[in-house]
Subunit: 383 residues, 2 copies
């Protein structure tokens, strides 16, 4: 059992008030003494993923964000449009900690051997509340990083690596041989390209701009389709015919893209059809929506036969579905290739207080290519 | 081997020409001599199902339908809008026979014992080309109807009975305990109600009008929600909460209904949620689109978490998926309950030539409740 005095630390909180105001603030909280099977991690790197922004800002209109408080303890407020308050009902009045994943050094450990073995080690962890200087967490939720790995290098060990591996794994398990990915120039998209190149999987990348296409071409992507091209649908159909991809992972969610992918998959399949069937190809075509970069409605024209599906895809239910040992195998691969296949890059490292500054919010809330931020909650304290 | 002379018979054909004209006509065709394992059925009842109308009229604009030819041999032409011709590419220039299912009397049989055993029997069959006076078909595709069953009573043995049984079977196999059905006052919807009442399954019926709600209430439906009610969404949510239904079969396809069902399912599930999750309920919610009464785009707002799916559902792939013996068990149940649970009703019995008259087309193409027609291809000949 650790006998250190109570350790205070800053923790970021997000609160939706019944009147429609969102409030993000930094609270000084006492770090709990670790239970026998727990450790306390001093978090030194925790990324701002799109999934974190969702919890952080809820349905608030970012353009209404105002900052008050002090530079060391800023408070952000923003307004949530009345029509979106229904979706916030489940979190009203609850001061919620934020931050899916992070990495840092174990500074206190419970009495169990498993916990004690982690003392002083650099670990990565997933489980929420990582936007904090200290996080008390079960030892078995920690992934020990190899010697020579910094917390910044290990901060994004879980969400993007396991999501991108989860995509190729889902592709295989559901009987497809190639896949499509949208918002493909993102950190996650680049990671998926490295996996697919390494594993010899054909990947059709969909981007919105020529600059994004260039990023992917530069890292060796073979199939890149740009929605801004006048011939986008023809180019996508050709890439689908070339690769035989019949499953897609779409980060945009809203709009017509998911339906267009199904339409082009069907057109690619029908190029080789021998006989007319008014029910279309019998090959199942699937699009999973795993993000919501476009928060508008999803719309599709049903011109792709009857063998199709659109659905939500989420990492943690996927890991549960494949079972503990399969999930562990994916984690081991991430650790083994952390500085190569699964390397993340950030445009800036910021403190907790800086994460609440308007300039920073304006950048990372774009969720745009090349605007990914890493929070180091101990930046101000430790340097 | 039968040694009868070649038998001529009328067969309905649908042809899409490259210039965008649809042509429906009656052809005099020679009925093939049955191979050893085949029989010739004199078709006396074959329903006009929504799935038949799709093949019959393709993407043609019904309002442009014109009839020429003679009363005994009419020819219907109609125009297909240019923007929809892409979807017709697979059938261009092919004169296609129509009619998924039907029933009649076996008037000739091949030499095999199985075929000979059917001579003179009243059978039902599925396999296309039933809008014809004679249909040569494999003996093992025929279902022998019990003594005392007329072809009219057996005409709809397959599509609606197996589709409605397929729905409750899919519900069970995918782990749901109650289901939702739209266009619920249809022949199929009433049949599904009889199955669910008999099997003690909770069924939420969605209809468009008070008259349709009354039809269902009259046959004992407990949960009926009318989209024309101002409180439709609240009423649907309440029915979903009462029944725990998390799977729906939607015949409309287009519009917002599929998404609204998912939204209300999520709202019903969240009534009992203990903890906030920004990813929504972990219970999988599924809507299968099995029809396309609304041919417009499908649109949904993603406010139902991440555990959801929308997809196509089609009878024959379903039967293949469950395997021959499970499919056979479903067929046996249909025969056993043909005059009760699986009874179909028709507003009119018409000949092949009458099916090509403008007044008839205007009625059955509505696909509306109470407008179902039965074709008796031997009506004019045999009476």
């Amino acid at each position: 059992m650790s006998t250190q005095p109570t350790r205070m630390g800053l923790q970021l909180r997000s609160l939706v008030k019944p009147d429609g105001e969102l409030e993000i603030s930094l609270l000084g909280v006492a770090t709990p003494d670790p239970a026998p099977d727990e450790v306390v991690v001093r978090i030194e790197g925790t990324p701002i993923n799109p999934s974190d922004i969702g919890l952080l800002f809820g349905a608030a209109d970012i353009s209404t964000a105002r900052v008050s408080g002090t530079p060391a303890s800023p408070v952000v407020t923003a307004q949530i449009p009345a029509r979106l308050m229904k979706g916030m009902a489940g979190r009203l009045g609850q001061s919620l900690p934020v931050g899916n994943e992070g990495a840092g050094v174990v500074v206190a450990a419970g009495s169990s051997a498993a916990a004690q073995a982690l003392l002083g080690r650099t670990v990565a962890a997933v489980g929420g509340a990582m936007y904090a200087q200290y996080r008390c967490i079960k030892a078995d939720q920690c992934l020990v990083l190899p010697e020579g790995t910094t917390p910044a290098e290990g901060a994004s060990c879980f969400v993007n690596p396991l999501t991108s591996l989860g995509m190729t794994e889902t592709m295989r398990r559901e009987g497809h041989k190639a896949l499509v990915h949208t918002a493909a120039a993102s950190n996650l998209g680049q990671m998926l390209n490295r996996i697919c190149i390494k594993d010899k999987i054909d990947l059709v990348n969909i981007v919105r701009k020529p600059e994004q296409a260039a990023i992917l071409k530069n890292i060796g992507a073979k199939y890149v389709c740009d929605t801004s091209s006048p011939a986008f649908l023809e180019e996508l159909t050709q890439a689908l015919a070339d690769t035989g991809a019949t499953i897609a992972f779409d980060a945009t969610g809203g709009g017509k893209l998911a339906g267009q992918i199904l339409t082009c998959m069907e057109a690619a399949l029908n190029r080789n059809a021998k006989e007319y069937s008014r029910y279309g190809s019998t090959t199942h075509k699937q699009v999973y929506l795993y993000g919501s970069l476009d928060t508008g409605p999803t719309e599709f024209v049903r011109n792709f036969g009857m063998a199709w599906g659109i659905g939500g895809w989420l990492l943690f239910p996927f890991l549960q579905r494949i079972g503990a040992s399969a999930a562990q195998a994916l984690r081991q691969r991430v650790v083994a290739e952390l500085k190569t296949t699964f390397a993340s890059s950030y445009s800036k490292e910021i403190s907790l207080a800086e994460a609440l500054q308007p300039e920073a919010i304006a950048v990372y809330c774009q969720r745009a290519t090349g605007t990914k931020y890493l929070i180091n909650p101990n930046k101000a304290v430790s340097t």
